[in-house]
């Protein structure tokens, strides 16, 4: 008896995951387990230490004689506010992620040529996205669990519910918006003899590109309703009609959006998929018009490298610069945002900005130039085919990665340090903030450099680790104070330098 298509798709996914786990080496499995537990423990620990501050009633409720009588209602309000902003941040990322999950994940291209019914494909996509949403929510909510044993069980319940439900609501709304936009874009007549009614590359096509933003706007409203409803549960310490109403409206919006999305999916999914495939696979000559060969132009940084490594450095410069032009812009933008946040740095406000910035640092680490540099599309191993030793290759790559990071972090740090100097206030704080920023950038780069090179590929575990390190540093700084944070960072930096120093040097045959 053949399996149902839906069960076939889901069981193949499950089987692949189990195979991946069972056939991984013992070291990999142990490393992943340790990292997962370490992350969970770190989040719980950080949450535990932050609980006291998270449970302080907001300053608005203070009166000359103390807190308002109604202050009971706000005992976990600061935590809920923070959970809301984290939810919104996750929503922002997840809105884009839904697009990836629907159209661009490699597993879709494995099954899109097979005769699966639309319902099975839709459920498969929904399950994949739902599991990811749940994972995001679950991980983020761990930070708030310690509120339960620090005096505010309802604070913990409300924050956890908000963080788990928000990505799911974002998923539902995102799914509908993306599929609707996709249907609008690709549902043009192509058969029997009609010309496609819209241009898949521009014009109306841009609507599809902006869809994640529209989805985020919708999701933010729904999450706000969710928060308002759940806040009432915190205030009254029980689930009540207001809570039910807030949750019901948000969930209903997501369900209706998903249903509308299903209709668009059923009718036009393959056309949308084809549109994305085209955009992904066809190499447009978008940059070729103005690009000319520039390999014969030396870069000034090359003088710091031995002659044997200069070619590799120049290759990185041209290949990476052209291949990942967008990432190069996104990366400094994120650092700039971090820099701006640190610009207003003050030790008193440390917990607030620390917890707000942590996810952004994680994102920055995902966009790290070194990671990109090691992705299969761009990675070439000169030492395997050319008379370039691995040592020289590593030197060129390190300098290149450092250049990429410092190019944007340097001015950023100067800005943070320089402006307060003119104002002659908080100089030390800003110097520390600059040092922290620069240190984070270098640590992320070196960590990924050392670890990715050691394994031969930029494994996700490494990237995660690289994201966690600065996050932990900031968390540490917020909990234990700046000197300890800087100390931890210095230690990690030294460790990474040491790891980099002991890279196995392979000499390729000429």
């Amino acid at each position: 008896m053949p399996q149902s298509p839906t069960s076939l798709l889901l069981s193949a996914r499950k089987r692949a995951a189990l195979n991946r786990w069972s056939m991984a080496s013992g070291t990999t499995r142990a490393s992943v387990t340790v990292i997962l537990f370490a992350v969970a423990a770190a989040l719980l620990l950080a949450g535990h230490f932050a609980s006291e501050r998270l449970l302080i009633p907001p300053i608005e409720t203070m009166t000359p004689t103390g807190f308002e009588a109604r202050s009971k209602q706000v005992a976990g309000q600061t935590a809920v506010e923070l959970a809301f902003w984290i939810s919104t941040f996750i929503g922002a990322v997840f809105s884009f992620r839904v697009m990836e999950l629907l159209f661009r994940r490699p597993d879709i291209r494995t099954v899109d040529k097979l005769p699966f019914p639309m319902s099975a494909l839709f459920i498969d996509r929904l399950v994949v996205a739902f599991l990811e949403a749940l994972t995001w929510g679950f991980c983020a909510s761990l930070f708030f669990v310690p509120l339960a044993w620090n005096g505010s069980p309802w604070g913990a319940i409300v924050c956890v519910l908000l963080l788990i439900l928000s990505p799911i609501v974002t998923l539902g709304i995102g799914l509908g918006v993306q599929l609707f936009a996709g249907a609008g874009e690709f549902a043009g007549s192509t058969s029997p003899d009609g010309q496609r009614s819209v241009d898949g590359y521009g014009g109306a096509g841009q609507l599809f590109l902006f869809a994640p933003g529209v989805a985020l706007a919708g999701a933010a409203i729904a999450v706000m309703l969710l928060k308002l409803g759940l806040q009432e549960a915190l205030r009254l310490e029980s689930f009540n009609r207001a809570t039910a109403t807030g949750v019901l409206i948000a969930v209903s919006l997501a369900v209706v959006s998903t249903f509308l999305g299903w209709r668009a999916f059923r009718q036009h999914y393959f056309k949308m998929l084809a549109g994305f495939r085209e955009a992904d696979f066809v190499g447009f000559a978008a940059t070729m018009d103005y690009q000319q060969s520039a390999f014969d132009q030396p870069h000034w940084l090359e003088r710091f490298l031995p002659a044997e490594a200069r070619g590799t450095f120049r290759r990185h410069l041209l290949q990476y610069g052209r291949r990942f032009a967008l990432t190069r812009y996104a990366y400094p933008m994120l650092w700039l945002m971090l820099g701006l946040a640190l610009f207003n740095f003050s030790r008193d406000a440390l917990p607030v900005w620390a917890t707000s910035l942590a996810p952004m640092i994680f994102l920055v680490s995902l966009l790290d130039p070194w990671t990109r540099q090691n992705t299969p599309g761009i990675r070439t191993m000169p030492s395997q085919a050319l008379p370039v030793t691995t040592r020289h290759e590593a030197m060129a790559s390190q300098l290149f990665a450092a250049r990429e990071v410092m190019l944007f972090l340097g001015p950023c740090a100067l800005l943070i340090t320089g402006v307060p100097l003119i104002r002659s206030s908080f100089v030390l704080d800003h110097l520390l903030a600059s040092a922290l920023l620069l240190g984070m950038g270098i640590t992320v780069t070196l960590a990924q450099s050392a670890l990715a090179r050691a394994t031969g590929e930029p494994a996700r575990v490494m990237i995660t680790l690289a994201g966690i390190i600065p996050t932990a540093i900031i968390g540490g700084a917020s909990v234990f104070g700046m000197p300890i944070g800087l100390g931890v960072m210095g230690g990690l930096l030294a460790l990474m330098l040491l790891l980099g120093f002991f890279q196995p040097a392979r000499v390729a045959e000429a």
Partner: protein, 258 residues
């Protein structure tokens, strides 16, 4: 006889570049069609459009009596496509992957197992069937993809550069199997640059240059021409003439643009 595949006026543009320009093509059951042309001629785009993984800008595509664009699921039941760049489940074993594809094609268990064993044997993958696809070499992965495509079996098989990287033994066995598939009433559209091989196994040759059809003749008729014409003794000779006559220099500039 009703055609197995009918393409009318297929046009596909990538912005300013017209990759396929008003292509008309009919393939009958039992035909083994060699699809040739210079790089960038539009072969993969045509195959992608037939397989339903690319949206054509104009034209009508039918497999059997099914409109490929209007009813993609029904079309996928009749077509198997092995793309140039393979897209497999890396973390399934070879056997699991074939079982998965057979399940997607709603094959009954007994029939499925027999076919899978047979295909694995044919491809020389029996010993490797419990290894993860991720661990397969390029050639092994390609053979596995062809085995998966042959499951069912489909009515129309689209093979895009599927002989690249295969060892001589596999090429030989696979060629035999594909010929058998056509003798059984299936049809194949095989894109390849190995012209000597196409000359030996195909019943018809179709050639694209700059997205336009420049040659569509049966192998029988081509062989007669080779025998009669001086200086044109093989498909390679004919290919060089066709490609050059219709703008090989233009093709080169298109390639560099892409």
């Amino acid at each position: 006889m009703a055609p197995l595949l009918e393409i009318q006026g297929l046009t596909k543009r990538y912005r300013k570049l017209t990759a396929v320009d008003g292509l008309n093509l009919r393939i009958e059951p039992g035909e083994f069609v060699g699809f040739i042309g210079p790089n960038g001629a539009g072969k993969s785009t045509t195959m992608g459009s037939i397989a339903g993984v690319l949206n054509p800008d104009e034209g009508k595509l039918e497999v059997g009596d099914v409109d490929i664009l209007a009813d993609p699921i029904a079309a996928r039941r009749q077509i198997s496509f092995v793309p140039q760049h393979l897209e497999l489940y890396d973390y399934l074993t070879g056997l699991e992957y074939l079982q998965f594809v057979a399940g997607a094609k709603q094959m009954k268990d007994a029939e499925r197992d027999a076919q899978i064993e047979d295909l694995l044997e044919m491809a020389g993958l029996t010993k490797a069937k419990h290894r993860l696809v991720k661990e397969y070499s390029g050639g092994m992965a390609r053979k596995l993809a062809i085995c998966a495509a042959l499951l069912g079996p489909p009515k129309l098989l689209l093979l895009d550069e599927s002989f690249v990287g295969l060892d001589p033994e596999s090429t030989f066995t696979l060629r035999k199997r594909l010929v058998q598939f056509c003798e059984g009433g299936g049809a194949i559209l095989l894109s390849s640059h190995i012209l000597d091989m196409l000359e030996r196994i195909c019943t018809r040759i179709v050639m694209l240059v700059d997205g336009k059809l420049v040659l569509d003749e049966s192998m029988e008729s081509l062989n007669a021409q080779f025998a009669a014409r001086d200086g044109v003794d093989t498909l390679t000779d004919l290919y060089m003439i066709k490609a050059d006559k219709l703008g090989a220099s233009e093709t080169t500039s298109r390639d560099s643009e892409e």
